[in-house]
Every structure is written in C-alpha cells, then in structure tokens.
Symmetry: C2
Subunit: 177 residues, 2 copies
C-alpha cells in the first residue's frame, strides 16, 4: 500500500498501482476535485445527484450496474426510479467523468478525468475491480486494421476480462494448496 503526501500518486495518476492496495479514498477525493473543476470549465453543473453518483462509483472502485447505483442514491434521499440513476450516469459519461463497461452493462468512475481518452479496460473476474490501461498502442493497431478495410472508426470499445495481480496470486495459492 502506498501512502500520500501532497499530490496523489495513486490510481488516478499511476496506472501501475491501479490494482495495488492503496489509499483509494485519497484518489477518490483527488478525482472529485478535478471533476468539480472540469464541470466549471465545461459550463455544466455537477448537481447533488450527479456528484453523489460519482462519489458512489469512486467509493466502490469497481464497475456498478445502474440499479446498484440507484439503490445507493435512493438511500441518500434521491429518487428511486431508474431514470434518476441513468440520467446521472449518462451525464457523467458524457462529461468524461465515468465510463460505461459494455461487457458488464455497468459504469465505472473515470480515474483520469480531463485527459480526453477512450481507455482500455481491464476487468478482474475475481474481485470485479476495473482499471484503465494505456490505450494508445491498442488504438493505433485498431486503426491500422480498420484502414485496411476502408472503415472509418468513430468510437471503439476495448475491454479485457481476466485476473488482476492479487486475484491471480490468490488463485495460484488455491491451486497449489
């Protein structure tokens, strides 16, 4: 587990600790702060329900279904009908503050808000953590493949399911025992 002094070198800034144990609360507050700033810059409003939805995603640090988020929001006094959650989540996705994980029909907080990216997602099937990985080389390869067919890419989804370092170790121990 790494510790923090001033700037958070955690999951938001350093991909190599995405799956490592760390003071995620710090990362979360760091991301929240950046979200505030971004919303101001982009001229959109990070209203209570939207802010809370983002906090929930950050607290969980994993992909959550819209109905899971809804339940949490309702518990906090917000509406408890599906559109409440979907609207907040759609807003976050539009503003680049959250991502939709197609494979899971779920949403996860963006750990790099403001860096205008479409990341590659690594989804751990053991602990359901989701990390964002370096996407540029993958996109480049994808672009080449598409170009060969005369296809013009607009948006793309790259998601990998597998085991994060910790879950892999645990499984290894289990198999060894």
């Amino acid at each position: 587990m790494h510790d923090h002094s001033d700037a958070c070198p955690g999951c938001a800034a350093a991909p190599e600790v995405a799956f490592a144990r760390h003071d995620h609360a710090h990362c979360a507050s760091d991301v929240m702060g950046r979200a505030e700033v971004l919303a101001g810059v982009q001229g959109v409003r990070l209203t209570p329900v939207r802010r809370r939805a983002l906090e929930i995603l950050l607290e969980e640090h994993r992909a959550m279904g819209a109905y899971d988020v809804l339940q949490r929001l309702a518990a906090d006094g917000f509406g408890n009908q599906p559109p409440v959650a979907y609207r907040a989540l759609d807003f976050l996705v539009e503003q680049g503050l959250a991502h939709r994980i197609q494979r899971l029909n779920a949403f996860a907080a963006c750990m790099h808000p403001g860096e205008a990216h479409t990341p590659v997602f690594l989804i751990c099937t053991g602990c359901h953590a989701v990390a964002e990985a370096e996407a540029a080389p993958v996109r480049a390869a994808l672009g080449v493949a598409a170009e060969g067919l005369g296809f013009e890419i607009d948006r793309s989804t790259v998601e990998a399911a597998g085991l994060c370092p910790r879950c892999r170790d645990v499984q290894g121990e289990g198999a060894a025992a």
Copy 2:
C-alpha cells in the same frame, strides 16, 4: 461485386471484401459447410434449430438481436420463447460459429469458423453490417498494456463503431449535395 467460381474468395476468406458487395449467399453456404464439418469434429450436434439460427445470421450478414432471431425461428416452426433463441445462439458462440457483439447486445455469424480467433469487430452505424478484422496486432498491444499492470487477460472484446466504405461515401455525397 466479385463473382465466384469454385472456392469462395468472399467475405469468409478475404477481409478486404467484407464490406464490398459480393455474392454473400455463396459465402454463407461456404461457412455452413465448414460449420457442419466442425460440429462433427468437435463431437457436438448441429441440430435443426441450431443450424437454422446460424443460417439466419448468415443470411442477414449483420448483427441480430436474440429476439429478432427468435422471431425468424418461430416463423420456421420452432419454439417462440426466448430460451429457444438464446440456447441456439449460445451454442453457436461456444462452438465459435457465431460471435456476440457486446455493444449491440446482438449476435453475428462467424465468417472464419475453425480459425480459433477472437476477432476485432467493425460495426457500421450506417448499414449495421459487421466485419471481422485482423486482430493479432491489436491483441498484442493489449497484452503489453495488461502486462504492465500485472493483469492476466482471459478474454477480450474489441469493437469499433463507425462507417464502412460505402456508407462513408454515401454520407460524403449527402454532405456535398
């Protein structure tokens, strides 16, 4: 539009015509033939409902929702409850005869059965055609990104939405006019 003599140089074998007009019926029967052989080799049964589901996907040459397939199956005298379609489609996916397109909650026939692959999908938002593109370089890049985080990839999904050559041309004309 290319024509065929004996072996089909069409969409199954030549990615560069995936989006080109061609005698898809030929490709379809070619793929069906290979599916028959594969089923035999793998010791599984390509039963009437499974075979018909694959034919439907091949005829359409695009990603279809399970309920669309179900409707077609029911019209052909098979059961008309969701599990009928899902079971047939799941079977096809398991055997590598079809692919699931996460982004669309839909299924498409595999154009390269037996080549044990997890392709990259190019989904045209204009005509809804789906092509399978060269995946190796993309996977390699993805593997590198995952390795950097100590993540072990099991399965991955790579899907790009955009415009196929024909739809791009049509749109270009529209914009020019």
